[in-house]
Symmetry: C2
Subunit: 117 residues, 2 copies
């Protein structure tokens, strides 16, 4: 069973490419650390198989919030990034959500309808 | 002394936003793990102070290679991403370089001339 991580980026807010990349990295790292501590065998398999990461587009803050709750319900490692608001956004703005590393089939249950960014 | 991570992305190759974000996340995570294992106090300070990440533009493969050597010479945690080439790029293409988490002054010695992506 392949292990992957999906990162959802809001497309309804204006962020430069560098800003988007930094937010995705922040989400990815935080969810990976949760997996490293709590889902160790999935985490290790992910590391050993190239750390598959898929970046997809999310509609808005509400959708990311719902996906986060869905991921928690499925007991998947996940992390929601709220921007500190020092540069381009208002403080506390939700920008990205990382789900996994976790088995592909489990993540697909809640993210398979999302399009690649 | 503030701790940050700088991620350099090649701007001379065509990558979609999602692809760029995934490559940056890959570089960021790998360099963070090197720091976690080998530069623990810098890593912990970075975690506790919001994990500052700066994404900048690199000219080409040669420049990223030189920056990587410079970072190693300065004994900074760093990681060069070579793409597996499954989607948009040729296998082995260098796409991104992460330097740090490490003290800002040390990283700035080699990256301060680079512009934000």
């Amino acid at each position: 069973m392949a292990i992957k991580q999906v990162i959802v980026v809001r497309k309804d807010i204006r962020m430069g490419i560098g800003k988007s990349c930094a937010q995705v990295a922040h989400a990815s790292l935080a969810a990976a650390e949760i997996a490293m501590e709590n889902y160790r065998s999935d985490y290790l398999e992910w590391k050993q198989t190239g750390e598959k990461k898929i970046v997809v587009a999310g509609e808005n803050q509400e959708q990311l919030g719902r996906l986060f709750e869905d991921a928690r319900t499925l007991n998947l490692p996940c992390y929601l990034v709220r921007d500190a608001g020092l540069t381009q956004l208002k403080p506390g703005t939700i920008t990205t959500l990382a789900i996994g590393p976790a088995p592909e089939e489990k993540i697909d249950k809640i993210t398979s309808h999302l399009k690649l960014l």
